[in-house]
Amino acid sequence: MNDLVLSLSKATKLYAGVPAIDGVDFDLRRGEIHALVGENGAGKSTLTKVMAGVVTLTSGGMTVDGVDVTPKTPLEARNLGIAMVFQENSLVPTMTVAQNLFLGQEKFYNRLRGIYIAAQQFLQSLNFDVTPTATVGGLGAAKKQMVEIARAVLHKAKVIIFDEPTATLTPEEKKYFFDLVKDLKRRGVSIIFISHALEEALLLADRITVLRDGKHVVTDDAARFDRARIVQAMVGRDLSNTLYGARKATVRPSGKRVLTVQNLKMAPMVKNNSLSVFAGQITGVFGLVGAGRTETFKIVAGVMKRDFFHGGEVILDDKPVRYRVPAPAVQAGIAYVTEDRKVEGFFETASIARNIYLGLLAKFPRGRAWLSRRESTSTGKSWIERLKVRAIGDEAKVVELSGGNQQKVVIAKSLIQDPELIIFDEPTRGVDVGAIVEIHELINSLADKGKAVVVISSYLPEIMALSDRILVCRQGKVVEEFSALEATEEAIMYAAIH
């Protein structure tokens, strides 16, 4: 059984100088099921993408069947026998099952009847109950996954990587999926699967590898793990060693209740979510990807399209509100600092000063029908100073700045609107080390000034360092609330994992 089909040594991948994975050693035996667990941002996706040829290593090596190779494209990886089943599956929804199976392998003249017969035989040989002539778009999540698996087997994959395979499945579908995976194992295929669901990993896997902050923590037989040991390995940081400083000794008391969310629903991400946010303190919202944290607050701020709003109430300062677009929410004193600043954060061709000035124009249009260059420059200057944005002049374009400075501009654009409720979604994602400290200081000072501050983060040390109150989300709703004084990383992680 100690026959290695794939191994990585000292694998490192840097994104703009920041390691996503850092010197990771990993090996995969023939015919084993290997679970990969870790927090968001631990480097699980990057590690598997390296194997699948989607991402190229910055340094380190990879061997397949004992031969040194580094797949540079997904096609090369596929030819090596490595297939990846993505979270967002990669099937063409308008084509039939058979067409999807043979996609990219069609003969010049492609006779539909021929591929239907071939697909039918192939699917039967796998014992898959899928109709080859069905259109993929009409299939359920489990059947789509079956088609993906069938395609991987058809491509003679030796290694199949699943990224969160069970996240979208119903319990029965999950059971079926487990049987499929076990069947694949019997055929000698090695399986890697990424999962947030620890029970599944413990149940299904032969071995489990835990990653934390891009580093390999432990690999061991699943039988020698239990839930507690995995959680311990996932969060067991030496806190004195992080940038985030020590735990809080005191917490700010709750001020006036600013925001109440009651039974908010939005399929499929938010399920009956209820929570409150108070003035003068920082409410940390923790949860794994898919826990519905971002969606809940995007609905509050009107950023999420109203069409998907399925029910529940948002109450701002004792008044029920329902925003269809962000503009009225901004007027009402809500600011949402996005988790994805490149997509919805800043204006890249505009200068720093113009970016900030646009925030001012949007909130206080009165008396500003004509642009004032002087006001633009002076507000730009003062905010650049306040937030210590490092740039060559305030006319520098935002796109030329580093991640941390870009984030500061996005924050300034919101703060100039003088909001009462500020929602920071992953405020330090992709931000350089020095800027993290400065942004945290800024967030703290806002709460000290009596603003209601929400920090959404999937990074536990950040939550622990900033929050006065911690809300933990799981599967679309807040499941537990901690005071920062009583919370421990283990307790929070326990609550967040299903």
Partner: protein
């Protein structure tokens, strides 16, 4: 980024200068006073339309109904006056029609979220059809006595400058002020730069998009009146011509990226000069219509390709890797 954009403008201006110079030297009659006047007059209408298109393109849209907005309200004025209505009343009716076209376009694009290409293509066809079916008696709406005096909008000269050029200049100033000096202009650039960020910032994106199309339609209507005044009639069949492609050519060639948020009035002027000179030179050279289209097509293709290289849409290329 900044450097690249400036050099694109410079290239286009250099091409214009080279073309103008070589036509002046090698083409008999190009530099004559008569020809210069025709050139400028043709250029004026094209330039005014280019301004309307520029506003929309800067806001990351496109307006294919611009020619309909030129022909139909313009023709309506002439027709109504012919039918015995007063000139001011006819002008008001034309303005209202243009505003209605803009409102429908804007509503379709901003609220119904129809892609601008299809929304304006459809509305343009509809308006042109409406004009031909219900409003005009002849394809070419003739000047009538009631219009006396109005031809000064497109003929003659003011302080020695041909009037149509003065009209273009006025339109340039108005659009420049709108885009660069007002809050609305700042919003238009912001929406074109990053529509998602504009939304999140609290900019009223949808009303501003409607505004863009209304202003574009009004500018189209103005161009139509200038054109009608300079030729003393309104050939409504102009909708079926390739004029709309010339307008897009002007905007893209001038360096206003189709990805939005970039460029301004200067780019329209440069683009207009180049296209105007090119079209005029080709006419004097007696290049047949088909040949002209061939050349225009090639130039537009080169311009669009250059544009995608110089101003790539960023949200696709610049996304960070998922960790």
């Amino acid at each position: 980024m900044k450097r690249v954009r400036i050099s694109q403008q410079e290239i286009v201006f250099a091409v214009f200068a080279a073309l103008f110079l070589s036509f002046s030297i090698f083409l008999n009659g190009f530099l004559s006073a008569d020809n210069m006047l025709t050139l400028l007059q043709n250029v004026a209408v094209l330039g005014i339309l280019g301004l309307g298109m520029a506003i929309v393109v800067i806001g990351r849209g496109i307006d294919l109904s611009l020619i309909a907005a030129l022909a139909v309200p313009g023709g309506l004025v002439l027709q109504m006056v012919q039918n015995g209505h007063s000139l001011p009343a006819s002008l008001v009716a034309a303005g209202l029609l243009a505003i209605a076209v803009g409102l429908v376009n804007g509503w379709l694009i901003a609220y119904a979220e129809v892609p601008p290409l299809f929304a304006t293509l459809a509305s343009g066809l509809f308006v042109a059809g409406l004009g031909q079916a219900a409003l005009f008696q002849l394809d070419v709406v003739q000047w009538s006595d009631g219009m006396a005096g109005f031809e000064r909008l497109g003929q003659g000269s003011i302080l020695g400058i041909p009037t149509s050029i003065v009209m273009f200049a006025i339109a340039c100033v108005v659009v420049f002020v709108l885009l660069r000096k007002t809050r609305w202009g700042a919003y238009i650039y912001a929406i074109g730069d990053n529509p998602f960020a504009a939304r999140v910032t609290g900019i009223p994106s949808r009303p501003i998009i409607v505004l863009q199309y209304v202003v574009a339609a009004l500018i189209g209507c103005f161009a139509g009146l200038v054109m009608a005044a300079s030729v003393n009639s309104m050939p409504t069949r102009i909708f079926n011509s390739t004029l709309i492609y010339d307008v897009i050519l002007v905007v893209v060639l001038g360096g206003i990226g189709l990805s939005g948020g970039r460029g301004g009035v200067v780019n329209v002027i440069i683009g207009t000069l180049l296209i105007g000179t090119m079209l005029n030179g080709m006419t004097i050279l007696n290049i047949p219509y088909a040949g002209q289209n061939l050349i225009k097509g090639l130039v537009l293709l080169v311009a669009v390709i250059t544009d995608t290289f110089l101003n790539p849409r960023n949200e696709e290329t610049a996304q960070q890797g998922d960790i």
